[in-house]
């Protein structure tokens, strides 16, 4: 690749120092539009917004260019090594207390750089699209303020060099998502959807936080107990710890290396050092738990976090509702970027992921189930955006399967290609809505191909890409994942992955079916008599241009999935461009997986490998083709024009249409319970027991005693005298009795 491009001509130092600008530009845009938006006027507002993201895009290109250079390397503060193909910058301490510290540190390697390009590139196109889509909206400046803020937060997420800073972006994008879903807040349902998204994400964030805290404990324990000669016991590591804190990614990488080096499952005969991955921790808060066990717990908590952000089971329910926001927002946030944050997170900490086969298998299973369930629900939906939303959930499930089988590059490739074709389709859906009076029901559309040629052609390309038809990008990325499920040797869980392979194929077949259904009902045939407008109109160029560019990218992205011609790194299987490009990022993870024998590649020779690859490709392709073909046939011919759905399948369709009643189930099981608990506690414990019985009870007892005593202190001298006399009499009687007895 170095030969394709000229050497990076500028100073590496400069681009490192300027990394913050990538985030600061959209942030500045958000600030300007947020504060002066009204005064600026529409023209200037979208100039500011687009230019800031465009500027970030250019800077990201420079970063990408610089990262092509082998000399682009940074010192690792935690070990004597040099990290190649990476840039880093540190802008001082954020906060520190006790032995904990976080700094404003940025880190750009090829993984983050690819993400940067996707975010700013797709982001720019969507900004451009929005200038036309939101043309008549009253909250024009506010919209662009939020959109810019979102881009800034997403960039923070991918550029962060520690989990804490990543969490800033993580929550920040959730916040922007909340604001944008509820953008048309005067509609109660839309505002509620925003709140639902935020709270569901918060459940995930709870997992993220717990995982982070456990990691701090794990690092502390490892530093204390690691034998000499391991990365975390080095002097360098302790200086790194005081400089950047335990949650910096390089620190976690050193932790992973240490744990892997002391793993004894693979080498039972080796002399066991003091710290052993499978042995219990001896001191500290984690005492009694094993390193491996805690690590698995950490990853499962992260899975909860990722499930919230990336809409996986059981937390996917917010994403379909999130379609209440403006359509470009759905394209940018709920398809291309934010929802892939969970996948990005696991890629970032890939070295930790590979050390826990159990967690990996769980990730894969969760992904697979999500992919299937979402695909099944998508079958019965009629809302164009809802179908796309469920398909996003389903595709994210595929990415999680990729993570789960240890093919991080494939999962990430699917992130990239999905960003292109799904953004293309969402924007296409927006264009359809724009041209049809905001109609979203696909049964009331139809025949748009002639009226909206640009939209329909680009949508077709997107559909073919997601379906996995051969020359389009979705095919390569999805099949890389499926192929991985078939070939990756995840110790102890090989049968699981094989089962998931078949389930994955079914999910892929479903995808083909419902996507073709969506395309055919919307664009082919005749215009539905129920349509809102008699004729649709094609959108203006700021809307169609992004569609064309994204469609083109959906095709061109196949370059990433193609096998390279020269195979420098690996003797027996061909690497794709993406795999080779991300090699420096996932190298550690692959090494650790192989060293601990937790994650291996199949020991096939080159011919076996190739034949397996080709049959896999063929199988997947055939399934997509057949399923899509059936769907096309059905919706073109059979069920066109008000033909009834077969009565036997009707209840099933209802069930799927109502999203398997998952929302209702959650409502019943958790939300109502929590509300009931809150009301009950308030009424009976707080108001009644604590306040009425305990507090007022005390007050009333005192008051009562006071009144009783009042009765004695009535100021009546005769009463006093009689009381004295009475007491005297009783006393005397008593004394007499004592004397007599």
């Amino acid at each position: 690749m170095e030969k394709l491009f000229p050497e990076y001509p500028f100073s590496i130092q400069n681009i490192e120092n300027g990394l913050w600008l990538i985030i600061a530009l959209p942030l500045l845009g958000a600030l300007i539009n947020g504060v002066f938006g009204k005064a600026l006027g529409r023209k200037n507002v979208h100039w500011v917004a687009c230019a800031s993201v465009g500027g970030s895009f250019l800077l990201s290109l420079l970063v990408m260019w610089a990262l092509g250079n082998v000399n682009t390397s940074v010192f690792n503060p935690f070990s004597p090594d040099i990290s190649r193909y990476a840039l880093s910058a540190d802008y001082g301490t954020w906060f520190s207390a006790g032995s904990f510290k976080v700094s404003f540190g940025l880190w750009a390697d090829r993984l983050s750089a690819t993400m940067l390009l996707v975010i700013t590139g797709v982001g720019f196109l969507i900004h451009l699209y929005s200038t036309s889509y939101m043309e008549h909206d009253k909250g024009y400046a506010k919209y662009f303020c939020f959109l810019n803020l979102f881009v800034a937060m997403m960039l923070t997420l991918v550029l962060a060099d520690s989990l804490v800073l990543l969490f800033v972006g993580w929550e920040g994008v959730g916040l922007c998502s909340y604001l944008l879903i509820g953008f048309w807040y005067d509609d109660n349902a839309k505002a509620w959807a925003g709140r639902k998204a935020f709270i569901t994400n918060r459940i995930g964030d709870f997992g993220f936080l717990v995982a982070s805290f456990l990691l701090v404990l794990l690092v502390t324990a490892a530093v204390r107990e690691a034998p000499q000669g391991t990365p975390v016991s080095s002097y360098r590591f302790s200086t790194g710890l005081s400089e950047k804190g335990p949650l910096a990614f390089q620190s976690l990488s050193a932790l992973a290396t240490t744990l892997a080096a002391t793993d004894t499952t693979a080498k039972p005969n080796q002399e066991t050092p003091a710290l052993v991955m499978n042995r219990d921790i001896e001191t500290g808060p984690l005492k009694g738990y094993s390193y491996a066990g805690v690590l698995t717990a950490v990853l499962l908590f992260f899975l909860l976090g990722a499930a919230g952000k990336s809409a996986q089971l059981p937390l996917y329910v917010w994403l379909p509702d999130a379609m209440a926001g403006p359509t470009p927002v759905s394209a940018l946030i709920h398809a291309a970027t934010m929802v892939t944050a969970g996948v990005y997170l696991f890629c970032r900490i890939s070295y930790l992921v590979v050390l826990s086969p159990f967690a990996m298998a769980t990730i894969a299973v969760v992904g697979c189930l999500t992919a299937l369930i979402a695909a099944l629900i998508a079958f019965a939906q009629d809302d164009i955006k809802k179908i796309l939303a469920y398909s996003t959930v389903s595709q994210l499930g595929f990415m999680f399967m990729g993570i789960g089988c240890g093919l991080f590059w494939a999962a990430f490739l699917h992130v990239v290609t999905h960003a292109f074709f799904k953004a293309c389709m969402f924007l296409g859906a927006g264009s359809v809505m724009h041209g049809n009076g905001d109609e979203t029901n696909i049964k009331r559309l139809g025949g748009l191909r002639r009226e909206m040629p640009w939209t329909s052609w680009t949508f077709l390309i997107g559909t073919l890409a997601i379906t996995g038809i051969v020359p389009l990008s979705g095919f390569f990325s999805k099949d890389a994942i499926l192929f991985g499920l078939e070939t990756q040797q995840l110790t102890g869980y090989v049968p699981v992955l094989h089962t998931l392979y078949w389930l994955g194929l079914i999910a892929a077949a479903c995808t083909a079916f419902y996507m073709v259904r969506l395309y055919v009902l919307t664009f082919e045939g005749k215009r539905s008599p129920l349509a809102k407008l008699p004729h649709a109109h094609e959108s203006a160029w700021p809307m169609t241009l992004p569609l064309v560019v994204l469609a083109a990218l959906s095709v061109l992205a196949i370059a990433h999935g193609l096998p390279l011609l020269s195979l420098p790194h690996s003797p027996h299987h061909s690497q794709t461009l993406m795999e080779a490009y991300l090699f420096p990022v996932f190298n550690v993870a692959n090494q650790l997986g192989a060293d601990t024998q937790k994650l291996l590649k199949t020991g096939l020779d080159k011919t076996e490998w190739t034949s397996l690859l080709w049959t896999g490709w063929f199988k997947a392709w055939l399934i997509a083709l057949v399923s899509g073909g059936i769907s096309a046939l059905l919706y073109f011919k059979l069920w066109r024009g008000g033909r009834k759905f077969p009565a036997i399948l009707e209840p099933l369709r209802r069930f799927a249409q109502n999203k398997f009643f998952v929302d209702e189930l959650y409502e019943l099981l958790f939300i109502e319970r929590a509300k009931g608990l809150a009301k009950g506690l308030y009424r009976y414990v707080d108001a009644f027991f604590v306040d009425r019985v305990a507090v007022h009870g005390t007050a009333q007892t005192v008051g009562f005693l006071g009144r009783v005593l009042c009765w004695f202190q009535n100021g009546n001298v005769q009463a006093y005298a009689s009381a004295i006399a009475l007491a005297l009499a009783v006393g005397l009687t008593y004394a007499l009795l004592q004397v007599l007895s």
Binding site: T93, W94, F95, S96, A97, G98, S99, F100, V164, F167, V168, E171, G172, L175, Y178, G182, Y185, D186, D187, N188, A191, W192, R195, F198, I199, R202, I203, D205, F206, L209, V210, F213, L214, V216, L217, T220, R224, T283, G284, P285, L286, A674, K675, L677, A678, K679, L681, Y682, R683, D686, V690, D691, A694, V695, A699
Partner: protein, 566 residues
């Protein structure tokens, strides 16, 4: 090592009082003059507060800006002012809220204007005094003195059921503090033979140090119990009661579950200014009291009852949040959210460990800013509509966009979104809980607070600001006036400043945190090492008389950090 004497804190404490006399001299119907004079007094107070904060040197001795005079020497009481890192940070917070409180009531109070503003100024003096006192009796006097103006603020200037709420507030707090007074006298008589006793905080603490050490050793190992000194024996026997009295007094102030029920009533009935001061500063007197008095004076008991207090804090966090979900009244909801947030403060402090304690200290400041701002902002809405229920609002965002933006920012601060101040505090508290000796599930349970917090705060935002405008009267509401904008802006900006640049404040807090942790850890002594113990002594300016015990030890050496278990 004597720090140089500085009169600055006298101005910090008593200038508001001086302005109160000035206001008293003004004619009662000159409302503008009264308000202006009060504002001026608060601004002067703010300047002195900032000055004190700037003059504080984190690397210097424990107590700085000390000032000491003879006062009631026969009783062992002196007039002694001084601040450590936590106190000076709280002084800054109090000084900052002062002018905002006055501005927030500019239009709200039209009756008895003079009395209202005198109350505010006197309250300011009392709060500053409690924070700056280094004599325990002086602290107690200021601590009680806070009650009186606050009682009037609620009882005279509050809403419908103000008198009931004021009485409840007064009695509740008084019960605790009277018990504390008893315990205080007890400690005083325990602290030494006649003639050497002193109410001076440092002397009291230093005198008890040796006894505390014996008690801790005895509680760890019965073998050490045989030859206890008389003081230690008494402390062993009665320490739990004394600690209990201190803890109860401060727990009511915080407030911790189950002694929290005065707070919702007081907040609901109090005027905006009262709510702001109550949430912003008064509640911190509880946590500050734990920090300054209850824990360092009785470290062994603090450890012994750590579980109980932690359990109550955890209940406070979760239960407080659940209470919020059951409210209709917005002020009541914010009050219950305080219970939840202060639960985080207490939890952090009870980790007895550096990160958690630092988080607790920072959370005190955060809570002052964000809950103070919540009451301030809601007060602006209340001023317009005089309604407190959520159902009375809806769609406010349309009518009042700037107000909505402010409220949203404060909401995000309150639910600890990273980048706002709330995150730093909450993160450190939770991290500390995980790192401490507490069981892991305690940390996990506390972390669920982030979910509930978002649930109830966003619920309020939803019901008040979003959706269609349901009532015609809400459609025509005016957005923030210039005065209101200026009042809210500092707090809104602080949310970001404290969220993104917390380090300068954390550095001021840091020495206090280290000392707090070290002092609490006296109860887990290592019998072999005596060197670290010398560092735990307190060093203060002495009266120029040989009457009081002299403590003369070098204070400049760094403290070790026993926060993490080795």
């Amino acid at each position: 090592m004597n720090a140089s004497s500085s009169p600055l804190l006298n101005y910090v404490v008593f200038l508001p009082m001086a302005f109160a006399f000035l206001v008293l001299l003004l004619p009662g119907n000159e409302k503008g003059q009264i308000r202006f004079a009060t504002l001026l007094g608060m601004l002067v107070n703010l300047v002195t507060g900032i000055w004190a904060f700037a003059a504080f040197n984190p690397a210097g001795s424990e107590f700085q800006l000390e000032y000491r005079l003879f006062w009631l020497s026969d009783l062992g009481i002196s007039y002694h002012l001084g601040v450590d890192g936590l106190a000076v940070a709280l002084v800054l917070l109090t000084a900052l809220l002062g002018p905002l409180v006055v501005l927030s009531s500019w239009r709200f109070v039209e009756e008895r204007v003079k009395e209202f503003h005198v109350c505010l100024l006197v309250l300011q003096t009392a709060m500053m005094g409690a924070l700056c006192s280094l004599d325990v009796m002086l602290f107690y006097i200021f601590f009680e003195a806070m009650l009186i103006p606050m009682y009037f603020l609620i009882g005279v200037f509050g809403s419908e059921e103000r008198q009931k709420a004021a009485l409840k507030f007064f009695l509740y707090t008084l019960v605790g503090s009277l018990l504390m007074l008893l315990a205080l006298l007890w400690v005083f008589f325990l602290s030494g033979p006649e003639g050497t006793r002193s109410f001076d905080y440092a002397a009291l603490y230093n005198n008890l140090m040796e006894a505390n050490r014996e008690v801790s050793l005895c509680m760890q190992n019965n073998a050490h119990c045989s030859n206890l000194s008389a003081t230690a024996a008494a402390l062993l026997k009665w320490g739990p009661w004394m600690f209990g009295a201190f803890a109860l007094a401060f727990a009511i102030k915080v407030p911790m579950f189950p002694v929290h029920t005065w707070l919702p009533d007081a907040h609901v009935q109090a005027p905006v200014a009262g709510s702001m001061v109550l949430a912003g500063v008064l509640l911190k007197m509880g946590t500050f009291g734990f920090w300054r008095y209850a824990m360092p004076l009785f470290p062994a008991q603090a450890w012994a009852y750590q579980n109980v207090l932690v359990a109550l804090s955890l209940i406070g966090i979760v239960y407080g949040a659940l209470m919020c979900l059951a409210q209709k009244d917005i002020k009541k909801l914010i009050a219950y959210s305080s219970v939840s947030h202060m639960g985080f403060c207490m939890l952090g402090m009870l980790t007895f460990q550096a990160e958690g304690t630092m988080g607790a200290a920072y959370q005190m400041l955060n809570h002052g800013v964000s809950t103070g701002a919540l009451f301030l902002l809601f007060g602006m809405l209340y001023e317009r509509r005089h309604l407190r229920n959520m159902t009375d609002y809806g769609g406010i965002a349309k009518a009042m966009p700037i107000f909505t933006v402010f409220f949203l920012i404060i909401t995000f601060s309150s639910i600890a979104v990273p980048g706002t101040n709330g995150f730093v505090g909450e993160f450190l508290v939770l991290l500390g809980t995980f790192k401490s000796n507490l069981p892991l599930w305690a940390g996990i349970l506390a972390t669920t607070g982030v979910i509930f917090g978002a649930a109830y705060m966003l619920w309020v935002v939803q019901r008040v600001f979003f959706g269609p405008v349901t009532q015609q009267a809400n459609a025509g509401l005016k957005d923030l006036r210039f005065r209101e904008f200026v009042t809210a802006l500092p707090l809104v900006l602080l949310v970001f400043v404290m969220g993104l640049k917390p380090q300068p404040i954390l550095e001021v807090l840091s020495p206090s945190v280290k000392r707090y942790v070290a002092r609490v850890h006296q109860a887990k002594p290592n019998p072999e090492s005596n060197t670290a113990r010398e560092l735990l002594r307190m060093h203060v300016r002495e009266l120029p008389t040989p009457k009081l015990a002299q403590a003369q030890v070098d204070d400049s050496q760094p403290l070790n950090q026993p926060g993490e278990r080795q």
